[in-house]
Amino acid sequence: MEVTTKSMPYEAWKDNEYIESLVNELKENGTNVIVGSFDKLINWGRSNSIWPLTFATSCCGIEFVSLGAARFDMARFGWEVARSSPRQADFIMVAGTIVHRMAPVLRRLYDQLAEPKYVIATGSCAVSGGPFKKSYHVVMGVDKIIPVDVYLPGCPPRPEAMIYAIMQLSRKMKVERFFGGVNRKEKQQEFLKEHPVEGVED
């Protein structure tokens, strides 16, 4: 199955092996014809209107502003507007460094997002700590606190790269099972259990 979005040619994607393995994994137990068709319909809608949370801590946030402005204009892809409340957003673009003091706050924001929710780790800091690897106060990658769906390297990534990352996310959403698929939710719960942050349960 060739999964693509926004009329991107399939060959133009960088990591088709991953999406193929994901599809195979999901298909292992067979697909119900009726539920499968509903899944496709729902996912078509979902993957074309993912709205980000306005969340930026540093430099990457400014590129995110550029992404929203007229030149790069993310609204043309259906990512429309950044929402200020996590309750109205589909995914967090973790744009910037996350430090110790911010870690519980980010986790709480993640918990407040409505299901299904996604995370893009934007920029080297969010991916791995980046240039602040030796710091005493920086979390070395947001995947220590919340599960990450797409990693987007760069310092900061250009708006074009951000577009690509969100497209990758929408591709991932396209193959997921919305109805039958509890796999994703289970994985999330597992992750959250392994990385407990007390007192921020939603």
């Binding site: 801590t57 540093s58 007229a70 430090v99 519980p104 602040f132 005493y136 106060h137 407990p196």
Partner: protein, 538 residues
């Protein structure tokens, strides 16, 4: 300066002097407050630039940099204590308002307690942080990533000295007992990053704001101590990412002057053009985000148009849209792109029309004027005692532009005005920035046609070692005076690299400016001060 030295020696016979950089007066802690008062009142050093906390292993202490607002000369006070267990110094928070915040920063990083400071809490790190990270013997394994929500306390400590010399720790309330406290931030779109205000309100009126910083404190100063000089440069891009060129310029200039490296005229010109382009881009984004804070979302799209044009120019020459890492010690990374002159001229050609458009759309708008005029008034005295420099300070009638007061690079030869306004309200802060765009364009126009030929990189030792000593330099960032304190022990790494951000005082002054104002004006006032949170947090 010799005259000043004599006058201080006459009043304080125990003072010793060091004239290797800025005149530094070393004084025992007991006379610190008296000397600071003498310098402020008698010798007119009325602007506290910064307090540099220091750990020299055998002793700890602070260096206070003062500046005169009349003749712009600088002086430094140095006070030390040999006690590492319970280091204490006397506070000067009653002389300068901003000193209270600076002292909290030193306490946070070095654990030096200031006797008499009314609010001795941590500033950047959380309340349960163990140890003091900028001490040389700090162990980072003490503080893993927290798995719990941050503990919150409504109390603060003060250390009071009794008449018999005994220092007693006392507790005080941050807010009144019956205050209604609303939390704003750290995740709030109008705080320009992750800044947190605990706001005591009486209906719609703000009674007090307690500012919490450190939600993006990345420990740059400590990391730099383990890096070589060229490696420290790239952090300058990542603090105030709008002033990337200016901050780079500042650190490169400090290191070059310390190492005695001469840079060519071509490099100087390129650096100044880049600084001023950054300033235009930064002020454009300020106008956009500030208007967006006030609800005029469309302005962002207009101002980003100019910003994108500048970013394209940068992209061609520096290879990046942000975080350029362009200036190097002794030069710049690459030569200018062949299109550079053409592109900049195109920018200068469209700029006046754009500014006119901003004025037409926003400045004269009746809603704008109602929301901004007379809101968040800051007097000149307030700006000085809170050390609010840059366009915000100049809007209060304080001529504090480093390009004029302590000219560096080729600025003395250039013809430009220092924009100063006297209203001190949000509108004035907005207008100063609008005018500064014009002034920056004027500077670029003078230079763009005569960029001299020459080397773009001076010869610099592969392994750069600075001589033993200390240097304090400032440059004008887009948001105010940006300072670098560099201390070298003769090795390849800096012994201490203290960064003096212009945004820290601006955020600290929010409490003072918003008292008695409406809560909706908090957004106007915060936006007009234009602080960048990663800059203040470092």
């Amino acid at each position: 300066m010799a005259d000043i030295q004599e006058r201080i020696a006459g009043q304080f016979p125990e003072a010793t002097f060091d004239t290797s950089d800025v005149l530094t007066v070393e004084i025992p802690d007991s006379k610190l407050h008296a000397l600071a008062r003498f310098l402020r009142d008698e010798l007119r050093f009325d602007f506290l630039v910064t307090i540099v906390g220091m750990d020299w292993v055998e002793k700890m202490g602070c260096i206070y940099y003062l500046q005169s607002t009349s003749d712009h000369s600088r002086i430094a006070i140095k006070a030390t204590t040999a006690d590492r267990e319970n280091p204490m110094l006397h506070s000067i928070a009653d002389l300068w308002h901003i000193a209270g915040i600076f002292e909290r920063e030193v306490y946070d990083f070095f654990g030096i307690v200031f006797i008499g400071n009314p609010d001795m809490r941590r500033l950047f790190l959380s309340i349960d942080w163990k140890g003091y990270p900028l001490r040389k013997d700090y162990d980072p394994s003490l503080n893993p990533v927290p798995t719990e929500n941050e503990r919150q306390s409504d109390f603060t400590d003060t250390y009071v000295e009794h008449s018999d010399g005994k220092v007693v720790k006392e507790q005080a309330r941050v807010f009144e007992e019956d205050d209604f406290v609303v939390n704003i931030g750290p995740q709030h779109p109008a705080t320009h990053g992750v800044l947190r205000f605990r706001t005591a309100v009486d209906g719609e009126t703000i009674r007090k704001i307690d500012v919490y910083m450190g939600y993006i404190h990345r420990g740059i100063e400590k990391i730099c101590e383990g890096l070589t000089y060229p490696q420290t440069l790239h952090f300058m891009d990542r603090m105030d990412y709008f002033s990337a060129h200016n901050y780079h310029h500042g650190l490169c200039m400090t290191i070059e002057q310390a190492a005695g490296i001469e840079v060519s005229r071509r490099v100087q010109v390129i650096r100044v053009i880049m600084d001023e382009l950054s300033r235009i881009a930064s002020h454009c984004l300020f106008i956009g985000t500030f208007c967006m804070d006030l609800g005029a979302t469309t302005m962002l799209f207009y101002t980003l148009r100019v910003r994108e044009q500048i970013l394209d120019i940068m992209d061609k020459t520096c290879g990046a849209r942000m975080t350029f890492n362009y200036e190097t010690i002794g030069g710049v990374m690459q030569d200018l792109h062949p299109d550079f002159v053409k592109d900049v001229k195109e920018l200068l050609a469209v700029l006046p029309a754009n500014l006119k458009e901003y004025d037409k759309l926003f400045t004269g708008n009746v809603i704008t004027r109602n929301r901004m005029e007379g809101v968040g008034k800051m007097s000149r005295e307030d700006a000085i005692t809170w050390s609010v420099t840059g366009p915000s300070g100049r809007a209060s009638g304080w001529a504090c532009d480093i390009r004029k007061t302590h000219p560096y690079s080729i600025y003395p030869e250039l013809d430009f005005e220092q924009v100063v306004m006297h209203e001190g309200d949000a509108m004035a802060r907005f207008k100063v920035r609008m005018k500064e765009i014009e002034e920056s364009a004027k500077i670029i126009a003078q230079l763009i046609d005569n960029i001299p030929e020459g080397e773009i990189q001076a010869k610099v030792a592969k392994v750069l070692k600075l001589p033993v000593g200390h240097w304090f330099r400032t440059v004008e960032g887009c948001r105010g005076a940006f300072g670098i304190y560099l201390e070298s022990d003769g090795t390849v790494n800096p012994y201490r690299l203290k960064i003096v951000p212009p945004c820290l005082p601006a955020a600290a002054a929010v409490d003072h400016l918003t008292r008695g104002q409406k809560i909706a004006d908090l957004i106007t006032i915060g936006g007009s001060l234009d602080y960048i949170v990663p800059d203040m947090d470092r």
